[in-house]
Amino acid sequence: MDLINNLSLGFGVAFTFTNLLYCLIGCILGTLIGVLPGIGPVATIAMLLPATYALPPVSALIMLAGIYYGAQYGGSTTAILVNLPGESSSVVTVIDGYQMARKGRAGPALAAAGLGSFFAGCVGTLILAAFAPPLTELAFKFGPAEYFSLMVLGLIGAVVLASGSLLKAIAMIVLGLLLGLVGTDVNSGVARFSFDIPELTDGIGFVVIAMGVFGYGEIIANLSRPEEEREVFTAKVSGLFPTAEDFKRMTPAVLRGTALGAALGILPGGGALLAAFAAYTIEKKTRLHPGEVPFGKGNIRGVASPESANNAGAQTSFIPLLTLGIPPNAVMALMVGAMTIHNIQPGPQVMTSNPELFWGLIASMWIGNAMLIILNLPLIGMWIKLLSVPYKFLFPAIVLFCAIGVYSTNNNTFDVWMVGIFGFVGYAFFKLGCEPAPLLLGFILGPMMEENLRRALLLSRGDWIVFVSRPISAGLLAAALLLLVIVLLPAVKSKREEAFVED
């Protein structure tokens, strides 16, 4: 069978000493930043991008992927023990997880999150391995019109995921698209919006925007908030293992969360955050068993389901990236950056031209999940200790890593000035209540969208009908429209607002 052959090729690549080592480093780093509130996978991966120049491409991608799914594990620890989402996708875990910790059931909550994530991670990886080849086949049928429509769908999907105002999120996407156009136009050679600054003719660096907006912007926002009293359950977490009753309750929740998360992860614009929200909402809809703790008071299902969903979503969101070359969320946009650094053009051809990279990455995810469950359950004490490091020692380090990361991308101080500007812009977004994630996605897709729009219209001699006369393209646009209509429906709208209010 092909799948078995491919996976054995993948495991052959992943089981070399170097790749195992980088997988472990990625998982440890991911857990670390997941546990620490105030720094997320986007900033970390942006920071480490330049450092991966020296590595072989497979090892680099394995490590960066490890950071992403590792952060999903680490985030839940902080959510349960400190009542703070260590990671944005753990926002809903806070609700029931922290209540469980207050009742002295931190151990089972952590175990439910860890075991659920592990199961979901394994299933997600299998789905990735099984679905990638047929999707790649489909992707080869795509012309420029289809790619353009797919990107529209992806961007609309990203809007649905953003919290807060829809209009603002769309505006942020457009702003991202525009920023992506800065620099030399590939077709005409005209330097656009570069103000005669030579460094700007290459375009604005992706790392610069990611670090400025997500790194500095968030640090400033965090520091300007009054220091809250944090109640940390650093006392020994005892009785890690859930009871038989817990197992009976959490098993169906984990299954539901995994299925939902895997499905939402594949959708453009989906990923871990959306998956976790949706899973929690569904779990709340199900009937409570007699004698069960209500939701919001420490129900184990409220931890197990969103945690499985976010991990499943994290794994399957690699599918659009690896098969179509389209990043479904900000972290995947960074992975595009990582692949381009190593001269790999993301898209359907990756599987045929770099099979060892493709299957090695997939196999490493399974290994990584196994490492993470060991890192997170038996070694939980280590991460708890880390939570007692005060923020005042942490943020200078984050500022430093951002600065070094930005400088070393091009060994150029110009990028350091730019990141300063975008740091301020990021803080302004925070003050004005604009979610920055869609901007980053737009930034990556900007040049690709223009290129495909141009080609599609060139082929059709300027006739816009081409986008609806080709069936796949029309289907994608219809899906985008449907998504918009669903979100704008009054019933869904109020539900969506309700879901985001809970954080």
């Binding site: 450092a51 500095y216 520091l223 943020f395 200078p396 500022v399 400088y407």
Partner: protein
């Protein structure tokens, strides 16, 4: 007219202004037609789209009732100045700035400057603790970036290494 949501109003204003600026800038390049797009075509379209969305956001900010007026609130200038200042100081010291006659001082000195300036943004500032943090970070960065990852960064000032 009273602004009902400050956040929405000013966000909309920002989008509208930036959108107009991009659209106006795009008209200085050749725009072309759908079949033969010039470099100005796509940015002009996007700029107009963003300006329109900006106006719509402003409009919601003026009309949709909110509980607390969604005030933008005080800007944390102290944090902005020190965090961004730390970043700028790092850049100047690391690479040097020939135009104002600052020589390249290298990574170690730049790290101390960055940590000290950045720490001023926090709520408390104890010089000895800050120095300790800076030392730990300097040693750690040397090991991680110079020794392990072999990044091409100047470590010591130019006048020492020549």
């Amino acid at each position: 007219m009273k602004i009902k949501s400050q956040k929405d109003f000013f966000a909309g204003l920002m989008f509208a202004v930036v959108g107009v600026a991009f659209a106006w800038g795009a008209t200085t390049y050749s725009v072309g037609s759908g079949a033969r797009m010039g470099p100005g075509y796509f940015p002009l379209m996007l700029g107009i789209l963003m300006a329109l969305i900006g106006l719509a956001v402003m409009f919601t900010g003026l009309t949709v009732e909110t509980e607390d007026g969604e005030k933008v609130g005080k800007w944390a200038w102290k944090q902005v100045v020190f965090i961004i200042g730390a970043n700028l100081a790092f850049g100047v010291l690391l690479g040097g700035l020939p135009s104002i006659g600052v020589p390249a001082m290298g990574m170690i000195i730049a790290i101390y400057a960055l940590v000290i300036i950045a720490s001023l943004a926090g709520n408390e500032f104890e010089f000895r603790k800050v120095l300790a943090v800076a030392t730990v970070l300097a040693v750690g960065s040397y090991i991680a970036f110079i020794w392990a990852l072999k990044l091409q960064i100047q470590v010591w000032p130019t006048f020492i290494t020549g």
